[in-house]
Symmetry: C2
Subunit: 279 residues, 2 copies
């Protein structure tokens, strides 16, 4: 398989049909037509063999799925609609054409579910499989959900019970619809992919506030420890004014307080979660 053949195969499978994508796979750049009145949001996320997954615990389509899911989860956290993605992929020596086809099948299945066009990327080789996804989403001007909007007295919610083990959670489903459903009412939002305690700390720090957490919804089979610090939950954590109607599936976990710390049932809640530079 040459690079040219591989790119042709990928382009055929991607079959871009978004009228705003003027040029997709096959040129130096993808070309996207701007529209006034919208903001575009961009995220980029690594998915690296040996760091974020191992083989054969993860199959090729699992890896393709998860590479995109990581980016889509950030798009969900902004309350945005996904538009297109670019994928940088380095193949390991034992990844043949069949492996590559399966990888893209996994990625494109999820892309189709959320109307995300594969618009381009880069192809390389390495001693391990390396993925880096870029996702672009759109949102009406000024309406993106940010981390820094939580205000004193706001209630804090999560979109589902927490405590996922990344080894078991091969095909996470990003909460795109959920993000869209809270866009008009949320004051701040973040996705929980590094653990509730760490991501709550990040949200509070960005907003310059504190928090009092009353209860943590723990997934069946998980421990409180896992719910607080395991990460990989792909749920949303958000705040909204007291009295607003939360969408179905919302779980209230606490309230935003003055900037004097983050507490769980009266005890200081440390930021425990995955830190890439502390491994």
């Amino acid at each position: 398989m040459t690079e040219r053949d591989a790119i042709r195969r990928i382009a055929r499978k991607a079959q871009a049909s978004n009228p705003r994508l003027i040029a997709g796979i096959g040129d130096d750049c993808a070309i996207w037509r701007s529209a006034a009145g919208e903001d575009l949001v961009f995220t980029t996320d690594f998915l690296l063999e040996g760091v974020h997954f191992t083989r054969p615990l993860y199959s090729a389509p699992d890896i393709g799925h998860k590479a995109l899911a990581r980016g889509l989860s950030d798009i969900a956290a902004m309350g945005a609609s996904p538009q297109f993605c670019l994928l940088s992929l380095a193949l390991a020596p034992n990844c043949d054409q069949r492996w590559m086809d399966s990888f893209y099948a996994g990625l494109l299945k999820l892309a189709k579910k959320f109307d995300t066009t594969l618009a381009g990327g880069d192809l390389s080789h390495a001693d391990r499989v390396l993925c880096d996804i870029v996702v672009c989403g759109s949102v009406p001007r000024g309406k993106a959900l940010r981390r820094d909007g939580a205000r004193l007295g706001d209630l804090i919610f999560v979109s589902g019970p927490l405590g996922r083990d990344w080894r078991e959670y091969r095909r996470p489903v990003p909460r795109i619809e959920f993000g869209l459903s809270i866009r008009a009412i949320a004051t701040s939002c973040i996705d929980i992919t590094d653990g509730l305690s760490l991501d709550l700390h990040r949200l509070c720090e960005a907003s310059g506030v504190g928090a009092e957490v009353d209860c943590v919804p723990v997934r069946k089979g998980a421990t409180l420890e896992q719910a607080l610090g395991a990460g990989e939950d792909y749920e949303l954590l958000w705040t909204m004014p007291d009295g607003a109607a939360a969408p179905k599936g919302s779980i209230r976990i606490g309230r935003i307080t003055r900037d004097d710390g983050i507490f769980l049932q009266g005890q200081p809640l440390e930021a425990r979660g995955y830190d890439h530079l502390q491994q």
Copy 2:
């Protein structure tokens, strides 16, 4: 160094000041304000230790520079103005804070030269240094230079003599101004980062044409072989109608012909260049 500290340091150094960048480093996504009447172009490029560079042959600022230069070269090939970039970086075990600071110094110096705002990215760890750059450029609607516009009778040009050795070429300067200067007259364009012969084949294939190359401008100290196939030239290869005025520095190398092959002085010119899947 924790991830949080590292992100703060990077954000402080990046000092985003682009009024269209509504939110930069520090949220789930960067937020970019769209404008009607423009097209945005996007590219993503790996720069991987052991594949694209080695240490200590490349210093930290060399690597930061080159990571961005690869993306900017694609933006130049579209005739676009760079706007912002996102950088995914995995640090190796022996990369300390000083290394990271030097890396970003190299990247941000080049970014400043070409008004490119560092808007976000991802930070991770791996056994080797891994970079993946995303660059966004803008161009008036419908004016992006593509590979597929070369027409029978067009003249073929390059932006400078060819034959670079990647081991020696640590700080390539992308031809942004050159790309802008040919945007109104070129019918097609590609950057030569995989070797003239391979990139000319790509341009001709996309355009459905052939080519007759009369002469290849070889850099002082390089061989014809290197000029044709070594890659890493960071020059532009473009076509334009016979009779149009080429900008200063342009070197005419041949003419577009019917789709019956690519020839150098009457001999078939094979596509020799770097193929990531054939290593």
